[in-house]
C-alpha cells in the first residue's frame, strides 16, 4: 500500500472517472456525490504523504519506477520531495474544494463537467510528481485539454475566445518547451550514449553554452507563459474572468504553480550556468518586478471584481519568480511558500467572487456595496482572504513575501525596494476593493436579500483559512520540508555559476 501510495493518489481521479461515466446523466445528485467523494478520497489519501514524509531525508520519497517506453528511454518514474509535497497537498485540497464549490454553481452537463475536473486533477498531480521529463511533458499537456473545455463550456460571455486563447498560448509555450527537453535528451545521449528522460540522469549532462541557452530559453517560454510572467500574461485575465468559479480557482491556485514549479525543478538545476548568468537573472528579475507593479496598478483600475483578482495573480506571481531567480535559499524557499500562499489566498478570493456571483450574477464591483451588513460571515471570510493576500503579519502572505524580499534584498536592494512597493499597492487595491464592496451602506436594494454563507461554503473556506493561519503563525514545518531540496538547488546553481 505505502509503496504505491503516490500512484494511488495520482490515479485515483482517473479511477473515479469510471463510476462517474456509468451514472446516468440525469441523476445529478449522484453525479455530484460521486465526484466530490472521489476528490475527498483523493485529499484524504494524500494526507499520509504529508504525515509520513521525512523532512530530514535528502532526495525523493515515495518513489516508484516502472518501464514505460523503453525504446525511447521514457519511464514511469515518480516521487516527491518537499517542494512537490507542498504542491501535491495544495492540489488535492484545492481540487476537492473547487469541486465542492461547484455543487450549486453548475447544473448543466454535470457529467462532462466533473469528468473534466477529474482528468484535470490527475494531470496536475502528474506534473508535480513526475521525475521523468517525458512523463512530465505528457501530464503538462494533459492539463490543458480539460481546462479548455471547462472555460469554453461553462464560462462567461466571452468564454470561447478566452478558452482558445488560453489553449493556444500555453500550447505554443509548451511545444517549444518540448524542443528544449528533446535537445537536452539528445545532448545527454551524445555524452553518455544512453537515451533517457530520467531527470536524475539528465542532471549529469554537460552542454555547450549555446545549447544550454537554447534549453533554458525554450523551457523558460513554457514555464513563463504558464506562470504567467509579464509579457506573456495576456491570456490570464481573459481565462480567469471567463472561467467558472471552480475553474478560476484551480487555474489560479494550482495551474499557475506549474510554471513556478517548472522553474525550480527543471530550469535551475538543468541549466544552472545560464540561470545564474547575471544578464539572465537581471532580465527575469526585471520582468518579475514589472509584473508585480504593472499587475498591481492595473488592479487599481479594475471595475470587474474577478478581473481584479486575476491581475492580482500577475502581481503575486511576480513575487514568486523574483524569489526563484534571486537564486538564494530565502528567495527560492520563499518562492515556493509564496506559491502555496497564492494558491490559498487567491483561491479564496476567487471563491469569494464565486459566492456573490452565484447569488447576484454580476461581477461588477459597482453592483455591490455594504455587503458586510447583509452577509457578516462572508465579510469576515473575505477580510481574512484579503489580509492573507495583502501580506498581513500572522497570515500566510506575510511569511512568503517577507522571505522573498529577504532573498531579493541579498541580491539587490533596488529589487527589494521596488518589490515592496508592490506589497503596498496590493494592500491598497485590496482594501479599496473591500471598502467598495463590503463597507458603507447597502447601495443596491436587491443586495439586501442576499443569503450569507451556508454550511457547504463554510466547509470550503475553513480549511483554507486554517492553512493560511497555520503558515502565518507556525511556518516551520513548511520550511523544514523545503530545506533539503532548496539547499540542493542553490548549491547546484552556485556550482554552475563558477
Amino acid at each position: 500500500m505505502t509503496q504505491h501510495l503516490l500512484s494511488i493518489v495520482l490515479f485515483l481521479p482517473l479511477v473515479g472517472l469510471i463510476p462517474l461515466l456509468l451514472i446516468p446523466s440525469d441523476q445529478k445528485r449522484t453525479l455530484k456525490l460521486c465526484a466530490n467523494g472521489v476528490m475527498l478520497a483523493g485529499f484524504l489519501l494524500s494526507l499520509p504523504l504529508a504525515l509520513q514524509f521525512d523532512a530530514d531525508a535528502a532526495g525523493y520519497q515515495f518513489t516508484e519506477n516502472a518501464a514505460w517506453i523503453p525504446s525511447i528511454g521514457a519511464s514511469f518514474n515518480i516521487g516527491i520531495d518537499g517542494i512537490s509535497l507542498l504542491l501535491v497537498m495544495l492540489t488535492t485540497l484545492i481540487g476537492f474544494l473547487a469541486t465542492l464549490a461547484s455543487w450549486s454553481a453548475v447544473e448543466d452537463r454535470l457529467k462532462e463537467y466533473y469528468a473534466l475536473f477529474l482528468i484535470l486533477q490527475a494531470g496536475m498531480l502528474g506534473v508535480f510528481v513526475s521525475l521523468d521529463l517525458f512523463l512530465f511533458y505528457v501530464f503538462w499537456e494533459v492539463v490543458l485539454i480539460p481546462m479548455y473545455f471547462i472555460i469554453g463550456i461553462w464560462g462567461g460571455q466571452r468564454r470561447l475566445y478566452a478558452a482558445i486563447k488560453f489553449f493556444i498560448y500555453t500550447l505554443a509555450g509548451s511545444v517549444l518547451m518540448l524542443l528544449g527537453i528533446l535537445t537536452l535528451y539528445f545532448q545527454h545521449a551524445k555524452e553518455y550514449n544512453v537515451y533517457t528522460f530520467d531527470l536524475a540522469r539528465l542532471l549529469n549532462t554537460h552542454m555547450a553554452m549555446g545549447t544550454e541557452q537554447f534549453v533554458f530559453w525554450t523551457l523558460f517560454l513554457g514555464f513563463a507563459i504558464k506562470v504567467p510572467m509579464f509579457p506573456f500574461h495576456t491570456w490570464l485575465p481573459d481565462a480567469h474572468v471567463e472561467a467558472p468559479t471552480a475553474g478560476s480557482v484551480v487555474l489560479a491556485s494550482v495551474m499557475l504553480k506549474m510554471g513556478a514549479y517548472g522553474f525550480v525543478r527543471f530550469s535551475l538545476p538543468l541549466a544552472p550556468h545560464v540561470s545564474s548568468e547575471p544578464w539572465v537573472v537581471a532580465t527575469i528579475a526585471a520582468l518579475s518586478i514589472i509584473a508585480i507593479l504593472y499587475g498591481a496598478l492595473v488592479c487599481l483600475m479594475q471595475k470587474d471584481w474577478k478581473r481584479l483578482v486575476a491581475y492580482s495573480s500577475v502581481s503575486h506571481m511576480g513575487f514568486v519568480t523574483l524569489g526563484i531567480f534571486a537564486l538564494n535559499y530565502n528567495g527560492i524557499a520563499g518562492g515556493v511558500i509564496q506559491s502555496i500562499n497564492h494558491g490559498i489566498s487567491t483561491g479564496m478570493l476567487f471563491l469569494i467572487v464565486g459566492v456573490v456571483y452565484e447569488r447576484r450574477h454580476s461581477r461588477e464591483i459597482s453592483a455591490y456595496g455594504g455587503l458586510a451588513h447583509v452577509m457578516p460571515n462572508f465579510a469576515v471570510v473575505f477580510a481574512i482572504a484579503m489580509w492573507s493576500s495583502a501580506g498581513l503579519p500572522l497570515l500566510n502572505g506575510f511569511i512568503g513575501e517577507f522571505t522573498i524580499l529577504a532573498g531579493a534584498f541579498a541580491v539587490s536592494k533596488l529589487w527589494a525596494v521596488l518589490a515592496s512597493l508592490g506589497v503596498i499597492l496590493a494592500a491598497a487595491y485590496l482594501l479599496w476593493l473591500y471598502q467598495r464592496t463590503m463597507l458603507g451602506e447597502v447601495t443596491h436594494e436587491i443586495n439586501r436579500k442576499l443569503r450569507d454563507l451556508n454550511a457547504r461554503e463554510w466547509a470550503i473556506f475553513l480549511p483554507l483559512i486554517a492553512w493560511a493561519i497555520w503558515i502565518g503563525v507556525y511556518p516551520k514545518p513548511h520550511f523544514d520540508v523545503l530545506e533539503k531540496p532548496v539547499q540542493a538547488i542553490v548549491e547546484r546553481v552556485a556550482g554552475g555559476a563558477r
Binding site: 514505460w68 517506453i69 523503453p70 525504446s71 525511447i72 462532462e112 511533458y137 505528457v138 499537456e141 494533459v142 490543458l144 485539454i145 479548455y148 473545455f149 469554453g152 463550456i153 468564454r159 470561447l160 482558445i164 489553449f167 493556444i168 500550447l171 505554443a172 511545444v175 517549444l176 518540448l178 524542443l179 528533446l182 535537445t183 535528451y185 539528445f186 537554447f214
Partner: protein, 492 residues
C-alpha cells in the same frame, strides 16, 4: 531466371494475389450475377470483401513469419518484400478495412450500393502493395496506375452528384498529368541506368557524373511527380477538391491509403536511388516541407467545409512527414514510419465521424459543413468525445498517438541540427490546434442545428470507430510494441 515461377515469387506475390483475385471477382460480380441479384446479395459482397482482407492479412502474416526481418526479392528483382514493405502493407490493410466498414452504410444512404465499389477498394490496395514492394520502374508505374485508376473511379462514385463528378475529373486530370510526368522521368532514368531496376539505377547514379543533364532532368521530373502524389505544396491543388467531392469513406481511404503508399514509394526512391544525391535534394525538400506546412495550415484556418479542412491539414501533415526525410537519420525515418502509422488511424477516425454525419434524415446534398457538426456532443457524446481524441492526435498532443509521430520528427530535426526547422514545425502545432479546435468548439459549444448532428451509426461504423479510437489511444499511452515494430521494419 532459371525457373519461371519460384517459391520465392509465390511467397512474395501471395497478398497481391489474394487482393487481386478477390478484387476482380467482386468487380465482375454484378456482370456475372445481374444487377438485381447482386443488389440482393449486398451483405454477402461485404462479407466477401472482408474475407478478402482476412486472407490478405493471413498472407501478410505468413510473409512476416517466413521473412523474419530478411529481405525477399522476387520476380527477378521486380519486387522485394522486406520489413519496410510489410510495415506499409499492414497500414494499407487497416485503411481498407476501416474504409469498407464505414462504406456499407454510407453507400446505402447514397443509393450507390454497387459491388464494384468494394472490388475497386481491394484493387487499389493491390496497387499499393506494388508501390510498397516494387523495386522496378515498370512494376512501380503499373502498380501506381492500378491504385490511381481505382481511386479516380472511387472519387467519382456518386455519379448523381455533380461535386463527385467534378472532383473525380480534377483528380483525374492532375493525377494523369503527374503520372505522365513520372513516366517521362522514368524514361530518362532508364536511359541513365540501362535498366529498370532501382538497384541498377542506384549504382548508375553513384558512378555517374552528377551533372549529367539527363539524370538531373529525370530526377527532377520524377521528384515533381512524387510530390504531386503526396500532395505536397506547390503540387497540392488537387487534394482539397478531391477530398471534398469524393464519398467520405473514399476521402478517408484516399487521405491515408493513397498517401501512405505514395510515401512508401517516395521513401524508397529518395533513400535508395537518390540516396547518393542527398545534398542536392535536401534543401529542396526543406522548402517543400515548410511550404506544405505553411500553406496547409493557413488555408485550413479559413475552411468551413470539414472535408476541405481535413484536406488542407493533411497537406500540412505531408510537410511534417517530409521533415523526417529531411533529417534523414534513423530517428527521422522511424519518425516517418510512426507518423504514417498514427496518421492513418487518426485521420481515418476523424473522417469516419464526418462520414457518420451523413444520414438519411439529413436529406439531400453533401454539405459536411462545419455547422453540420454543431452540437454533436449533446446528441452523440461518444462520437464527439472520440472526435476530440482524433483531433488532438492530429494536432499532435499527448497522450494521443499523434504526439509520437511529432515527437520523432522533432527529435530527428534536433539531432541533425535543424533547430530552426524544429521551432517552425512546433509553432505550427499551435496553429493547427486552432483550426482543429474550431471543430471541437462547434461540437461542444455550438448550438445544435435543426437538421444536423444525427449520427447514422451502424455495426460496421462502430467497429471501425472502435478500431481507430483504440489504436489512437493505445499507441498514445503504450506505444512500445508499435515503436518496436516500426523500428524492426526500417532497420533491415
Amino acid at each position: 531466371m532459371s525457373q519461371f515461377y519460384t517459391a520465392a515469387d509465390n511467397l512474395a506475390l501471395k497478398p497481391a494475389l489474394a487482393l487481386a483475385s478477390f478484387g476482380c471477382v467482386i468487380l465482375l460480380l454484378e456482370f456475372m450475377l445481374g444487377r438485381a441479384r447482386a443488389a440482393a446479395a449486398r451483405q454477402w459482397i461485404l462479407g466477401l470483401s472482408l474475407t478478402g482482407l482476412a486472407v490478405t492479412a493471413w498472407t501478410l502474416w505468413e510473409q512476416q513469419q517466413a521473412l523474419d526481418g530478411r529481405r525477399l526479392t522476387a520476380f527477378s528483382g521486380a519486387i522485394s518484400v522486406d520489413g519496410f514493405a510489410l510495415f506499409f502493407n499492414w497500414i494499407f490493410l487497416a485503411a481498407s478495412l476501416v474504409t469498407i466498414l464505414i462504406s456499407y452504410r454510407y453507400l446505402e444512404i447514397e443509393g450507390e450500393e454497387q459491388a464494384e465499389y468494394y472490388g475497386l477498394i481491394l484493387l487499389a490496395q493491390c496497387g499499393m502493395y506494388f508501390l510498397a514492394t516494387g523495386t522496378d520502374l515498370i512494376t512501380i508505374f503499373v502498380g501506381l496506375e492500378l491504385m490511381s485508376l481505382s481511386f479516380y473511379i472511387l472519387v467519382g462514385f456518386l455519379r448523381g452528384e455533380r461535386r463527385s463528378n467534378e472532383a473525380a475529373l480534377k483528380y483525374f486530370l492532375l493525377g494523369v498529368f503527374s503520372s505522365a510526368l513520372m513516366a517521362y522521368g522514368f524514361s530518362l532514368l532508364f536511359g541513365v541506368a540501362g535498366s529498370t531496376r532501382l538497384k541498377d539505377i542506384a549504382t548508375a547514379i553513384q558512378s555517374r557524373d552528377l551533372h549529367d543533364p539527363i539524370l538531373l532532368v529525370g530526377l527532377a521530373v520524377t521528384a515533381v511527380a512524387l510530390l504531386f502524389k503526396i500532395s505536397a505544396v506547390p503540387f497540392h491543388m488537387w487534394a482539397p477538391d478531391a477530398y471534398e467531392g469524393a464519398p467520405t469513406p473514399v476521402t478517408a481511404f484516399l487521405s491515408v491509403g493513397s498517401k501512405a503508399a505514395s510515401f512508401a514509394l517516395l521513401l524508397r526512391f529518395f533513400l535508395e536511388p537518390l540516396g547518393a544525391l542527398r545534398d542536392a535534394w535536401q534543401p529542396l525538400l526543406v522548402a517543400v516541407a515548410v511550404l506544405s506546412m505553411t500553406a496547409g495550415n493557413l488555408a485550413a484556418i479559413t475552411q468551413t467545409n470539414l472535408k476541405r479542412l481535413i484536406a488542407y491539414s493533411s497537406i500540412s501533415h505531408a510537410g511534417y512527414i517530409l521533415l523526417g526525410l529531411v533529417a534523414g537519420n534513423e530517428t527521422g525515418l522511424q519518425g516517418v514510419a510512426v507518423y504514417v502509422l498514427v496518421y492513418t488511424f487518426t485521420n481515418l477516425g476523424a473522417l469516419l465521424v464526418v462520414a457518420a454525419l451523413r444520414s438519411k434524415v439529413t436529406g439531400r446534398g453533401i454539405e459536411e459543413d462545419l455547422n453540420d457538426i454543431s452540437g454533436l456532443a449533446q446528441r452523440n457524446p461518444t462520437y464527439a468525445a472520440l472526435m476530440v481524441v482524433f483531433l488532438l492526435s492530429l494536432a499532435g498532443l499527448p497522450p494521443t498517438a499523434g504526439f509520437l509521430g511529432k515527437y520523432y520528427i522533432f527529435l530527428s530535426l534536433i539531432q541533425t541540427g535543424h533547430t530552426v526547422l524544429a521551432v517552425v514545425a512546433t509553432l505550427y502545432v499551435a496553429v493547427a490546434l486552432y483550426y482543429y479546435f474550431g471543430i471541437v468548439k462547434m461540437m461542444y459549444m455550438g448550438q445544435a442545428a435543426e437538421r444536423a448532428s444525427l449520427i447514422s451509426s451502424s455495426v460496421g461504423m462502430r467497429v471501425a470507430l472502435g478500431i481507430t479510437a483504440a489504436a489512437t489511444v493505445v499507441i498514445g499511452l503504450y506505444p512500445e510494441p508499435f515503436l518496436r515494430f516500426a523500428e524492426i521494419s526500417l532497420l533491415r
